[in-house]
Symmetry: D2
Subunit: 353 residues, 4 copies
């Protein structure tokens, strides 16, 4: 199962007309070991990719092709940058052709089919592939990912919250797991490149609001992974908000430190946990990470605060929702699956200002 790391990887993308699609293309077109082999769009069959996304002019010469015509089975790996429901319908055929799959939607994120069907309102048509699928959060699942044929690439909110909490869970009890709050904020690109009134510039601009308070699809995904890490059912309150910026996500996570854990050096704990992770940056205690410090990069930055040295621990986590929260993470998964270091093709510096 080891890879020859100099071998080139033939990549296909299903559904390349959205923001995760163009972000995959931006990064993969610069990846030193990737050949873009096929990109599908039923609606845009024949249109050069760079015509839809002029930033790719001079970098990507491919045209969209309809799914039927696209040489997907000739790829080494196929990314699904599609709405939920698409990857599960094509997974078996691709696997049989020896193609690995990284789904950026939710088809392979939730192991519990009833939960999936409750939240996504469609039947899960591919439970056997779901069985073998690996949740693609590299920093939590490195080993399994490197051996996986199918990856459920994590949601953007879950990435921030799970990496923000992982060091606190699974060892000796440190925090009250019955009462975790994540007040999360996302840039508008998280809503995708769909024509929706609520995401118009004149609606989302110069404006701020909470949404999905009554229930957001990322809630069960976060909870499933937290439960797994904590070894118990976690109590999670999750409130997402929409920020008038294009990219970027910040989760402000509130946990209560257990009395017996009050002497813990949380800063050291986090630094140790992520010491060998290229993309998780535990900043000095008291830092205030801003989203632009990770804009267009695969970095995720964490800062801890403990006001008055009391029993509240506040964990601030930032990422670019389209990179570490989507396309970058997917490529990090690909790197692992093909025996490459995490950072190959992913080491871009964030754009500031």
């Amino acid at each position: 199962m080891t890879q020859n790391s100099s071998k080139r990887i033939k990549v296909g993308i299903v559904g390349g007309t959205g923001y995760t699609g163009v972000e995959l293309l931006r990064i993969l077109s610069q990846h030193p070991q990737v050949d873009l082999h096929a990109i599908t769009s039923r609606k845009e069959d024949g249109m050069p990719v760079a015509e839809m996304f002029p930033n790719l002019r001079g970098h990507v010469n491919l045209a969209f092709s309809s799914p039927e015509k696209a040489p997907l089975t000739g790829c080494d790996v196929v990314f699904f940058a599609t709405p939920h429901g698409v990857a599960m319908s094509q997974a078996k055929e691709l696997l049989e052709a020896g193609v690995r799959i990284i789904d950026l939607a939710s088809d392979f994120r939730l192991k519990d089919i009833a939960t999936f069907e409750h939240w996504y309102k469609i039947p899960h048509t591919c439970p056997e592939v779901l069985d073998e699928a690996v949740y693609g959060l590299v920093e939590l699942n490195r080993e399994a990912i490197s051996r996986a044929r199918v990856i459920g690439n994590p949601g953007c909110y879950p990435t921030t919250i799970l990496l923000g909490l992982a060091p606190l869970l699974g060892g000796k009890p440190l925090i009250d797991t019955t009462d975790i709050i994540s007040d999360s904020k996302s840039g508008v690109s998280g809503a995708g490149r769909k024509a929706e009134v609520g995401m118009l510039f004149s609606e989302a601009g110069d404006n701020f609001k909470a949404y999905g308070v009554a229930g957001h699809r990322h809630h069960p995904e976060i909870k499933a992974q937290l439960d797994r890490m904590a070894g118990t059912s976690v109590g999670l309150t999750f409130v997402p908000h929409l920020v008038p910026m294009i990219r970027g996500m910040l989760s402000t996570i509130y946990v209560r430190i257990l009395p017996e854990a009050r002497d813990t050096d949380f800063q050291a704990l986090f630094e140790k946990r992520y010491a060998n992770e290229a993309f998780v940056d535990v900043m000095p205690a008291g830092s205030l990470p801003d989203t632009r410090s990770v804009r267009a990069s695969n970095a995720l930055r964490i800062a801890l605060h403990r006001p008055g040295n009391g029993d509240r621990l506040i964990i601030l986590v930032v990422q670019d929702n389209l990179v570490k929260g989507a396309a970058g993470q997917a490529i990090q998964n690909m790197n692992l699956m093909f025996g490459l270091p995490d950072t190959v093709g992913l080491n871009q510096v964030a754009i500031l200002p």
Copy 2:
């Protein structure tokens, strides 16, 4: 034809779910002599207006009703805040019922039917009403408006360009009318409240571009009025641009001063022309008007520049595209039609910052 200025005006709005609709409601709900009588939306029949536009909570108690049920013929005046083609289909019936009409779309702006049909791609079904319609740019057409039954409310770009040029046209020759350039810039709300990919926050935000360079529907409207004022066929280059802001419009107009007019005091000319106009503010020479200085107000500000005292005159004009460029202007027209001073209900101060 004189009006009793203390009489209340019963107002109807057709198509109140867009930005000009909500802006009409914002202003009319505070107008001291207006009773909001009916507002139609086929799609939102029965929905309280304030549910769609929560800024109106506590100010507007009306619900949308379908056009069939709405008591439009009981109104004194009906505003059409609809796409083109709607006003012309209902105009005759309303006029016969004694209702005046102010169309914020283009049905009654262009006197030449062939031009209308060329640019708007639909037949004009109501030429007899078009005949009597008045172009509702108050500062150019005050007399006719006060007697009108039907108003074609000007487009947003035309308002800036026509008011920016009017003092230069129609008297003794001052500028080369064969070569006028307006480089115009608009906030995104000008595109309306329609779900369009290009107007998403993630598309229009942190971005700038020209559009409609090959031809924009406001071009024939501007040219028709300029021709009329100049008494000759004017040469106009008009390039609109999209600015990542919600409201606001700035036109930078370039004209060439004729040799025989080099000694003209243009500042005095403009100040005199607009001395009695409440909403046209000729700023001191050399001023740099910004769009926020008129945000949410009916003011239009003009500043003149003549670099190096040469033969180029640069006219800067700003307005809020939704107010003086649409709803405010429409209400200013209504005021005139009902014998009220221009400023009644329209004297809001711009929001800064």
Copy 3:
């Protein structure tokens, strides 16, 4: 102490060159019973106000004058739109001249001088005036305000949090007061009109971050009022964030419902509490108020959420930080002090979009 409500009020403003200053001017210039009498700025002595703030052209003819020359003692009321420390230095003289004072800074907000001096790093030079000062949150303090000579106008964050929590405090125990979290978000105008690198468009734009996590000056102000209402020392975690928008503030407040209060109808409780308050809008349960629904208006909107009908109550509160969070609230205080209804001159509809 009753007022003749038709009497005109002579108003002075100290420090009118900031955002609360121009916002006071915007609203007061339209207030039907106010005469703007004096506005001071040492630095801009002699400059017409409308030259600095062109939105006021045609609405405010006053010029700034240096504090020494300004006829402040001839005013009925003086607003201080200054940094902290200024109001306390002039309060006694004005009071002696019979002038009432509304301080928009913090000089008269905190009754505990040690707390003030700890957080604001200057000595409090006017404790006797502080003694009589009233905390100007109308909906909590209506009676005292109507009789007050000196008002400490609340901070912007405190206004949202206190009005969001008031119905839950002071009666029978409903929530765990040892553990209240407010995750609050503010537009950039809250930082004022000061040249600071961190507030540049290129720094704060397209960006999001928390700040002041280790301690924010509004924390003791909020806590003092919560303690007073709850009759006990409240445990408060307060994390402010900076949103890339100009105006607007949203607080997401997390409280835990006590077991004995699980059957409470919180929606009814809030609606009843604010039934007679013109500016507090308790929206239907489950609403998602956005900041633009209050932009440039004095409204504050509240919505309650109780996910899964569990023991977490989430209170969403929005306001315009410059209006209900500053200038509008100050004018609401003035109205009460002079025997006018709250809404006089303050009934503007929010600007949307």
Copy 4:
């Protein structure tokens, strides 16, 4: 004078605390043949660069050092990302030490000292270095740059206007050179990282305005280069505008086609002129380039429009003002000076959305 292209280049940066500084660092830290050797800031002596600019965490380990201590004379090339006046004061000493110089400010852009002193209000203290300095617009000056010791890196506006006009000048007469208009628009980062009220988010956000209409420092720079290319004195009207976006610049250039040139295939002319230029993209005729299509990349895109096939040619030019308009162009110059292909380390794809 040829270079060994595998040799590493030791780079120093003077004044690295502004936006062009951090942009140089972002790109140079990824440049495969560059070693960052020194970065100076008098004010921030000792501070790690990545503390000021957290996007550089993990990419740049250097700290700022005061100019006196920085090992600048040990560099192969030094970039000046400083205000004007600094480079000229240090140029001679560095040249004597064999160090090449690329000044991103204006000290070496204008050959005419009187013009420099008129616009920049300081004496030029280094005329002998100015004599040998080369104007660093690669696409116009490739040969001279490759041999240069000192580069005056072009201003951002000039880059768009000169590259937009170059194909039209210097050959047979095509356009009326007495009457060229550039209506140019820039993102706010062009104003630099200086605390200025006018550049605050609350001032520049949701706002649009012209500035510098009476005279902008880039005017003489543009005119000097246009005159040189045209071989005659060109008539230029240049009006810059401020766009509420961080990065990006668009110039809308209006020229009049001469009667004898009406049959010219301008599209072919432009395509041919830039056929071998990696960073100048002549888009298909009628394209509407947006600034985000070049955001954070060194690309400059041009599109031609000739409405109605008349005698007006409109040239749209976009670039990222901090990349092709500043730091990227400077590095492109460095590549040439050290015998490398233009694109080394500069081939980043633009960030969209």
